[in-house]
């Protein structure tokens, strides 16, 4: 079985700060990580390979330094890594990204064997759109299984797959066919630590580097900024509220006193709440 996992190198958004005066993002020194949601997909792929045999190829589109995240993935136990990197990809929105990745996956199929499953994470933590997975599925004409919580079974002979998928208000049980694209939900897997041997191997192994041309992309107008129908016109900081929270004085007073004052304050500001709270509490 051949599995392709798409991963993305993202800034660790917990560590991004906005400059208080200029409102620009202070990116300097912000460490990069593999998009955390992608790790659940990678782990699922590795588990499937361990059970069914075959190979896992990790793929990322990004700047040359995105190679780091591929090496990390090799360290976890992926068999092969492909870095799609070219200045033509700069400024890609989700449509242009899914175009480039789908072309690279088609090329991976020709070069290393047709994938049975393409995995992506549920979404990225920097873009948060959850659109790239569905975009890839549509372009490659794969059946699309998003927000998968569990792969219940895979039958490589009949080429059938059964999954549990997170839906609004419950879990949907679906049966579909290989090849398919799966976006994996978070917390579905305990992420393994790669072995020392794998880490050493990863450091030595080659990362396959492809330009747009190498991946067989001849229509560059569909890549990067030119291939992106959406345009960011303006980036700005959320308006800070004019005033900070009104503080309730807590000095040298009993807790009941403070609580009474807080409640009085709440109900002065929102008188309508009094009846609502009383009604809801059912007292």
């Amino acid at each position: 079985m051949h599995i392709v996992v798409c991963i993305k190198q993202v800034p660790d958004s917990a560590q991004i700060r906005v400059h208080p005066v200029t409102n620009t993002i202070m990116r300097q020194g912000v460490p990069t990580i593999i998009n955390p949601y992608d790790l659940f997909a990678l782990e699922e792929a590795l588990k499937l390979r361990d059970v069914h045999g075959g190979e896992v190829t990790v793929l990322t589109m990004g700047p040359p330094m995105a190679e780091d995240s591929l090496r990390k993935a090799l360290g976890y136990g992926a068999d092969r890594a492909v870095l799609l990197t070219d200045r033509y990809f700069a400024g890609s929105d989700t449509l242009a990204t899914s175009f480039a990745l789908s072309q690279a996956i088609a090329k991976i199929g020709e070069t290393f064997g047709r994938p049975d499953i393409v995995f992506t994470g549920k979404q990225t933590i920097d873009g948060d759109t959850a659109q790239v997975g569905p975009g890839i599925a549509k372009r490659l004409d794969l059946s699309q299984l998003t927000y998968v919580a569990k792969i219940a079974s895979i039958d490589l002979d009949t080429r059938e797959i059964e999954v549990a998928r997170r839906a609004e208000g419950g879990t949907q049980l679906l049966k579909s066919r290989l090849p398919c694209l799966i976006t994996m939900l978070e917390d579905t897997n305990e992420i393994r630590r790669g072995s020392l041997q794998q880490a050493l191997c990863a450091a030595r192994s080659q990362v396959v580097k492809w330009t747009a041309a190498d991946a067989g992309i001849d229509d560059l107008t569909r890549c990067g900024l030119r291939g992106s129908p959406t345009v960011v016109k303006r980036v700005f900081a959320p308006t800070a509220r004019a005033e900070r929270a009104a503080q309730i004085d807590t000095a040298e007073r009993g807790l009941q006193d403070i609580a009474d004052e807080l409640i009085a304050d709440i109900l002065t500001r929102r008188p309508a709440l009094e009846h609502e709270l009383a009604f809801n509490s059912g007292t």
């Binding site: 569905p134 016109k233 929270a245 403070i258 807080l262 709270l277």
Partner: protein
């Protein structure tokens, strides 16, 4: 493996981002559409919130607002159509066919794409739910148009383009995104980000019915079953009028009982910040924030929550935010309306008691007299 490159129109060379004359093939794209999401017989409330927003956009553009209802033939679809009119739609497009009984990407994407290609809307809005995101991503790809996810604000520009604003960089900044040279302009919006519009009973409007150009045998993916969530409370969190939430400042899983006690005393739902879910102290459905639920209560009480940006974006729609935190410099005090610098573990029981006293029938009688 085939790619879609042969079947989709080639994008004209040039920078898509640069504003230029809208290509002729898009000139007759008009009207605002809202996809109505059917969830086990009911319309998902996010669809009504979007109809409210869509109404404003349609009025500004002086065009019509249409709802799109996809589902199995029968009462469920007819009810949804009536609701679409009650929440402001001028007309509703219906595709009703048995394969649309349960959500699957293939038949839904096919039905929606066909409708768009036939009737050419300029704006298409969907809820950023698991269903909406699954559907929007593939429809936008097929139509080769722009899709902006998780918008927090929608507007039309002076030249009539959709200005879609969304958080970026993990919520720390906002950006406004345009789809300049492609149609429709697509956007998704999370539940509870837009206010619920007023429901007005009115006579049924115009209905346009279409056939699904696909039969069950064409569909690769089959639905084997559905396991509904047993805790219905979590669906309520997003729609609760009063929410009490606890954060890491509560120190231990047991202390969450203090949050639940207060919530029970005032008829509120309870929630939490993300680290509590990660620690397994609360189920994921209780998480409030960017990667959890967006809430819009009339009153939000946050105990031991620092107010990180990812939490803030989920609660900013609250009418009145009250923060209890030991650190006077906690970021939550920058967007809360009322703040108390104190130990939440000691204060929550006192607050619960004071509320109970205040809301007891006896004191209510006194208030009335």
């Amino acid at each position: 493996m085939s790619t879609a490159s042969q079947t989709t129109p080639r994008i004209a060379p040039g920078r898509a981002g640069v504003k230029k004359e809208l290509p002729d093939r898009f000139k007759d794209y008009r009207h605002v559409w809202v996809f109505l999401e059917l969830e086990r017989g009911n319309v998902h409330p996010v669809s009504f919130e979007l109809l409210g927003e869509g109404r404003k956009l349609a009025d500004k553009l002086e065009v019509q607002l249409a709802g799109v209802v996809l589902g199995p033939p029968g009462e469920m679809v007819e009810d949804a159509v009536a609701e679409a009119f009650a929440y402001g739609a001028d007309l509703v497009y219906i595709v009703d066919a048995p394969p649309l009984a349960d959500y699957r990407n293939e038949p839904f994407a096919k039905a929606l794409t066909d409708l768009v290609n036939t009737h050419k809307p300029e704006i298409l809005l969907l809820g950023a739910t698991t269903l909406g995101r699954d559907l929007a991503g593939s429809v936008a790809t097929t139509l080769q148009t722009g899709l902006t996810a998780d918008c927090t604000e929608l507007d039309v520009d002076s030249d009539g383009s959709l200005a879609a604003t969304r958080p970026t960089f993990g919520g720390s900044l906002l950006c406004t995104i345009y789809t300049l040279n492609y149609r429709p302009q697509m956007a998704t919006v999370r539940p509870r980000v837009m206010p619920m519009p007023q429901r007005v009973d009115k006579p049924v409007g115009r209905v346009m019915r279409h056939k699904l150009s696909l039969v069950e045998d064409d569909i690769v993916t089959k639905v084997l079953g559905f396991l509904p969530d047993n805790q219905s409370a979590m669906a309520n969190l997003a729609y609760a009028d009063v929410v009490v939430a606890g954060g890491l400042g509560l120190g231990a899983a047991e202390n969450l009982q203090l949050v639940k006690n207060l919530a029970r005393a005032i008829g509120a739902e309870h929630g939490c910040s993300r680290p509590l879910v990660q620690k397994g102290w609360m189920p994921a459905d209780r998480q409030i924030g960017q990667t959890g639920k967006t809430i819009r209560p009339k009153l939000y009480i946050a105990a031991g929550i620092s107010g990180a940006i990812q939490h803030r974006v989920g609660v900013e729609g609250a009418d009145l935010i009250v923060a209890i935190n030991t650190d006077p410099n906690a970021p939550i005090f920058e967007f809360a309306h009322l703040g108390i610098v104190t130990d939440a573990i000691r204060f929550l029981p006192a607050l619960t008691e004071a509320f109970t006293r205040r809301l007891s029938p006896h004191s209510r009688d006194k208030l009335a007299s």
